[in-house]
C-alpha cells in the first residue's frame, strides 16, 4: 500500500489525473494514532497519510489547471498513436476517395514520409500528431486531373499529381508533406487567420517546419542550401528546363531560381498581396536565425519557433512584429541572451524589428 501511493509528482500527473485511494485518509490517520499498533507501523501509516494528502492536493491542482487550459492537459495524457489512412481520388474531386488497403508506389511514398513527419514532431518537438492527441492522419492522392497543388482541408491532406510539365506529383517533396501537416498543427494551436500578415505567418510556419523536417530527414546542416528550398522535389521537366529549382528559397526569397519569388524585406511587401507572397519575409528571418545559431536547425532554432507557435501567446491575427517579438522571447527562454540577440538580429535584417544597437 505504501509503495502504491508513493508515486512521484510527474508520475501522478501523467498516469493518475484522478487519484483514487483504496484506504480512506481518515482511516490512515486514525490508525497512525492507535496506541495498540507498534511505532514503526504507525509511522508508516502517518507517512502514507501525509503522502495521500499531498497527492490529493496535486489532484485538485490538476483539476483546476485542466479547467483553465483543457487542451494542454488533455495533451499531457495523450497516448494514442496516430494511424494513417490513405485514399485514392482517382482523378476526381470527391474527398476522401476510395480507401487504399495496401499502399504501393506513390501511396507508399506518402505513407512513409508522413510517418517520418510524425516521428519528427514526436522526437524533436515532443508532439503527438497535429492535435497533440494522436489525431489520425488522412491523405488523399490523385486529386482531380493534372492538379498542380496540395492542401490541408481542415481535416486531411490532399495531393494532386501536377500537370507533368511544371509540377510533378506533390507528395514527392518531403517538405511539402511537412508543410501541409503543419497547417493542421497551426489550426490546432494559434489558428492564425489566413489573410494579411497573420496569413503570411501561417504560410511561413508551414514552410519553416516543412523545410526543417526535410533537413532532419536528410541530416543536412543549416549551411546546406538545398535544405532551405520549398518544393524542390515537385519541379517537373519544363520548370527545370527554364531554370526553376524550387517554389521558394527561404534564404534568397527573390532569387531567379524560385518559381514563385517573394519580397525579402518588410518594407517591400504589399499588405493586400497573397499570403504566399509575404511569407518570404518571416521565412528569411527564420533561415537567418538558424544560420546564425549554426549546426542543425532542428536542435534549437525550430524549438524556438515551436515554442512561439504553441505557448498560447500568439494571437490569431498576429502581425509580423508581434510574432517576431514572441520568437525573441522564446529564443531567450531556450538559448539565453545570445540566442535572443541572434533572433532579434535576424528580424532586424528583414526589417520587421529595429536593428539592435
Amino acid at each position: 500500500m505504501y509503495q502504491s501511493v508513493h508515486a512521484t509528482e510527474s508520475h501522478a500527473m501523467r498516469f493518475c489525473p484522478v487519484c483514487c485511494f483504496i484506504v480512506p485518509p481518515g482511516v490512515l490517520r486514525k490508525y497512525s494514532r492507535d496506541p495498540n499498533i507498534d511505532a514503526a507501523t504507525r509511522q508508516k501509516l502517518q507517512d502514507t497519510y501525509v503522502e495521500t494528502e499531498r497527492l490529493r492536493g496535486l489532484r485538485e491542482a490538476h483539476r483546476v489547471a485542466s479547467l483553465r487550459d483543457p487542451q494542454r492537459f488533455q495533451a499531457e495524457l495523450a497516448a494514442h498513436v496516430p494511424a494513417q489512412h490513405l485514399f485514392d481520388c482517382k482523378h476526381r474531386k470527391g474527398l476522401p476517395g476510395k480507401p487504399v488497403a495496401t499502399p504501393t508506389n506513390g501511396f507508399k511514398t506518402t505513407f512513409d514520409t508522413t510517418a517520418k513527419v510524425v516521428e519528427f514532431y514526436k522526437t524533436v518537438l515532443g508532439r503527438n500528431s497535429v492535435d497533440n492527441k494522436g489525431f489520425d492522419l488522412v491523405s488523399s492522392l490523385h486529386y482531380a486531373k493534372n492538379y498542380d497543388n496540395a492542401f490541408w482541408d481542415g481535416q486531411q491532406m490532399v495531393y494532386g499529381d501536377g500537370d507533368g510539365k511544371l509540377f510533378t506529383e506533390m507528395y514527392l517533396s518531403p517538405d511539402v508533406i511537412g508543410h501541409e501537416l503543419t497547417h493542421g498543427v497551426t489550426q490546432n494551436e494559434s489558428a492564425l487567420r489566413y489573410e494579411g500578415e497573420s496569413g503570411a505567418l501561417n504560410e511561413s510556419i508551414s514552410d519553416v517546419f516543412g523545410t526543417v523536417f526535410n533537413q532532419w530527414l536528410n541530416q543536412w546542416p543549416v549551411t546546406e542550401a538545398k535544405g532551405w528550398l520549398v518544393g524542390a522535389g515537385i519541379m517537373a521537366a519544363s520548370a527545370q528546363g527554364k531554370g526553376f529549382t524550387c517554389l521558394r528559397d527561404m534564404v534568397h526569397p527573390s532569387a531567379a531560381h524560385c518559381l514563385s519569388p517573394q519580397p525579402e524585406l518588410y518594407g517591400q511587401i504589399d499588405p493586400t498581396a497573397d499570403v504566399h507572397d509575404n511569407s518570404g519575409v518571416p521565412n528569411r528571418a527564420f533561415a537567418l536565425f538558424a544560420r546564425a545559431l549554426g549546426g542543425q536547425a532542428w536542435t534549437e532554432a525550430i524549438k524556438t519557433w515551436y515554442d512561439t507557435c504553441t505557448n498560447r501567446h500568439l494571437r490569431a491575427d498576429a502581425t509580423f512584429k508581434e510574432f517576431a517579438t514572441l520568437t525573441v522571447a522564446s529564443a531567450h527562454k531556450i538559448g539565453g541572451a545570445a540566442a535572443a540577440d541572434k533572433c532579434h538580429g535576424a528580424w532586424g535584417t528583414v526589417g520587421v524589428l529595429k536593428a539592435s544597437a
Binding site: F151, H183, G231, L247, D274, H276
Partner: protein, 95 residues
C-alpha cells in the same frame, strides 16, 4: 448591370505555390460550356464578396467582369466554387 458580360479577366492566386495566373477574354472567345458556366457563376455569387473564407493552400479566383453597358464588378471565388470549365482558362499564362 447586365447578366451578359462584354469581357472579363480571371486571376488565380494562392495554392501551395502561390503563383499568379490570369487571362483577359472577350465573351465571344468562350466556348458554349464556358459561357454557360460563367453565366451561372455571375447569377450565383454577389460582387465583391468571397464565396468562401480563405483556406490554407487553396486557390482563389478573382473574376473581373465588364458588362455591355460598361459597368464593372469583381467576384472572389473559392476554388471549390469555381467551375472547372473556367479554371482551365488561366493555365496557359503559367510559366
Amino acid at each position: 448591370m447586365s447578366d451578359v458580360p462584354h469581357s472579363l479577366r480571371i486571376e488565380r492566386g494562392g495554392g501551395l505555390g502561390g503563383m499568379k495566373a490570369g487571362c483577359d477574354l472577350a465573351l465571344d472567345a468562350l466556348t458554349p460550356p464556358q459561357r454557360k458556366a460563367l453565366t451561372a457563376l455571375l447569377q450565383r455569387h454577389a460582387p465583391d464578396a468571397r464565396s468562401a473564407p480563405p483556406a490554407p493552400d487553396r486557390f482563389t479566383y478573382r473574376v473581373h467582369v465588364v458588362d455591355a453597358d460598361g459597368a464593372n464588378r469583381t467576384l472572389v471565388i473559392a476554388e471549390d466554387d469555381m467551375p472547372t470549365a473556367l479554371q482551365a482558362l488561366v493555365k496557359p499564362s503559367l510559366p
